[in-house]
Symmetry: C2
Subunit: 456 residues, 2 copies
């Protein structure tokens, strides 16, 4: 019998990030300067991001980027992550399918976010910067970044959406323990924050607003740059370590997946997981069904439009062409579990547009039902985000049960739900409800999308 | 260079629990029936515990107990746990010491407790029981048990200290997600609970009181038994998997520790970690310094007495001979992090009394300082309990720095602090204070210790 958990050795850890864009015939659309509607230049981006990361962001051709030894050493404090055969879930479902998951939650940030935080902190330090700024919602990304900054000796300023800062203080305290300065957003420490506070006194803030504050805090401070935990090309590049490890581990087991599933918010987890597999598919070497699982309450892929849009509500960021619900879209507050971003990675958006991957949307109660089944069978309490992928996996595994097919399913378990117990409590109490935006809600969200550039 | 993390393969996992008592010349004192002051018989214990566990509890001679395949399969969902070389901590401290830790926190219960919960749930199921009852404070043990019961298909009733139930609802929700029934203790579902509620209306409860309720709930229900997460011989037996894995991993690395350190509350973590090493020491094959690290606010080893005492405040449990602060001792509410039990494992008590191990007590602010240093260096946010061992390790490593000695230190990182963020917040805010019981406090705690049996 195969092992439950397969760990690569440290010698087998990836030495290079894999840049999926190099294998895409039609490249993802470039970021645009919203003023000129021209592609952002390296020079323009370097005011916001550190130089090496700008290079990675713009490079659509280099297939592999070497992972510096310092980052690899840091990875060894929490990687390799295990590839797990979900024997118990298979048994509970009674499916002939073979289910594997790549588990990224075994680190204090609780998710895959640390993979990119490590790289971004390292490059900032190497450039001689003093610190970095970022935004965080519930705090997964902020936690990851504060950990990486503590390790590399970098100052870390986190703008945390005020409602989360007040109502979910635990991740805030993790960040503080790692030495980060955590500010409730909107705050009076930035001009954009002051403006928002004046316009909407008493507002609980939003991710888009926190982004605007973090960017301002970076560009107005000597020796600081802004960093972002998802959506960007560079982030998907760093996250390719997930897929590279999973690919190698499956190869050692002599197993080829038929279906690869991941949850999608900004796309960093799915983009990282599928990278080497999608590369094979693009090069015509293999074929895989690839499925992104998203919340029905924030359905960027399944109900969004493929348009140029702002990534932030303050509209200080460049335009990205992506599947978007519009920067005016606000997911309902009853939506409990992450994946709240209105847009999507431009890489995944382009792949989806080309029909190279599918997407499916789930309501939150069915997602938590899947989470409970998984937790009881496999022991791990999954993050609500990751549970979208679990739900899709269970659905596919049950189809196999019906058809008798022994398909191999690989899914990404991007994180743990230890800081999402308020949502689990709602589910346990039976008070959790579902929300699906109406067509009118979606129209409102798209109302703020800027005029589109002409197609070339 | 040695790896950061050493994982055994699944084939190398222990196949047998190691019973340290078999190698003790002077055995730990037997549990006594408080009515007759005679050693508890198997028959008496079988009303409370399931039969196989009673056998393990009473057997001082059998060196190895085979781990049933079903338990080993379950272990594979979260074991082997990594043996980690703390390179980054060594660097931060500038010590020539080599520091290793055995990390037991990478499972949803967040600690080593799951090792024994697995065994206890399995044996209860095998005996055809319907369910088990237990008590829990902050919820680590209750979480572990609810996970194991979900896996083995067993009903799980947890009495949770009321203050924790209300103020720390997150682990309660984890337990509910795994299907456990969680009752705030004292409750009106038991006679002892009703009595305590009548006597102390509005009380927030205590661990000792929750034990009494759980035991009553087990013995008055058909098909139920009581299970306990620490202190007992059977628990230390199950926890020997920690030490057995660590021993084998170090052997593979060709490393022999000079000092072995663990935190001590009821003794399950340290007892498990040291088992095979202490065995070598008892058999005269090797010598190790072994150190238990405990809170100065609940200093069983360093300021307790070696006496027969009740394990619970309701006095429904047998008497155990142990280092005890007296069953009337209540740790100050300002003490934030676990290890609150007034007594200690009889095995460790006997070893300590024979001078085979040392103990050291720390105040909580210095423990959290050590936790912060560790978290920033090694990434993992440690449980406050485990941080006592970190503090002792740092102290020993700094002594090595002074003397220039390259000692090898192994410590047990028994768990993570993800559910202890209120305590971290106090520490981050600078509002955490220390508490050391006065001699008068200790005298009060011992006032309820029963008359001692005559020495034979």
């Amino acid at each position: 019998m195969e092992n439950y958990r397969t760990y690569l050795t440290e010698e087998e850890l990836p030495t290079h990030y894999y840049n999926l864009r190099a294998d895409m015939e039609k490249k993802p659309a470039p970021l645009l300067n919203p003023g000129t509607m021209q592609p952002m230049t390296a020079e323009e981006l370097e005011g916001v991001f550190c130089s090496e990361l700008v290079k990675q962001e713009l490079d659509n051709d280099t297939r592999f980027f070497e992972i510096p030894e310092e980052i690899r050493d840091y990875y060894k404090t929490f990687r390799p992550s295990p590839l797990v055969r979900a024997y118990n879930l298979e048994k509970v479902l009674g499916t002939p399918a073979k289910i594997y998951f790549k588990f990224e939650g075994n680190n204090t940030s609780g998710s895959h976010k640390l993979n990119s935080a490590a790289a971004q902190a390292y490059y900032a330090k190497k450039q001689g910067l003093k610190g970095v700024t970022t935004e965080t919602g519930a705090g997964q990304w902020g936690t990851a970044l504060s950990m990486a900054c503590a390790y590399f000796g970098l100052d870390c300023k986190v703008f945390m959406v005020k409602t989360s800062y007040e109502q979910k203080p635990f991740r805030r305290e993790v960040m503080r323990t790692y030495g980060a300065e955590v500010t409730a957003s909107p705050s009076d420490t930035t001009e954009v924050g002051k403006k928002i506070l004046a316009e909407f006194p008493g507002t609980g803030g939003s991710l888009g607003c926190a982004i605007s504050e973090a960017v301002e805090a970076a560009v107005t401070r000597e020796g600081y740059r802004y960093v972002l935990g998802s959506v960007l090309n560079q982030v998907l590049l760093h996250q390719s370590v997930i897929g590279l490890e999973a690919h190698k581990a499956l190869e050692k087991l002599g197993v080829t997946p038929d279906i690869i599933i991941g949850c999608t918010g900004g796309g960093s987890n799915l983009g990282g997981l599928i990278a080497p597999f999608m590369g094979e598919k693009l090069r015509g070497e293999k074929d895989y069904r690839i499925i992104g699982a998203e919340p029905a309450s924030c359905p960027s892929f399944t109900r969004g439009k493929y348009l140029y849009d702002f990534c932030d509500t303050g509209k200080v960021c460049p335009l990205a062409k992506m599947y978007t619900l519009g920067n005016g879209f606000m997911p309902s507050p009853i939506h409990a579990g992450g994946l709240r971003f209105h847009g999507m990675s431009t890489i995944l958006s382009e792949l989806y547009d080309q029909g190279l991957m599918e997407a499916v949307a789930y309501e939150q109660t069915e997602v938590f039902e899947a989470a409970e089944v998984f937790a009881r069978a496999e022991g791990i309490l999954p993050a609500p985000e990751s549970s979208h992928a679990i739900k899709a996996t269970i659905d596919e595994a049950l189809k196999c049960k019906e058809s008798g097919e022994e398909k191999v399913i690989l899914f990404g378990l991007s994180g743990t739900g230890y800081f999402d117990l308020l949502a689990y409590q709602q589910f346990n109490d039976g008070t959790m409800t579902d929300y699906i935006p109406t067509d009118e809600d979606l129209a409102k969200g798209l109302a703020f999308v800027p005029p589109q550039p002409e197609e070339k």
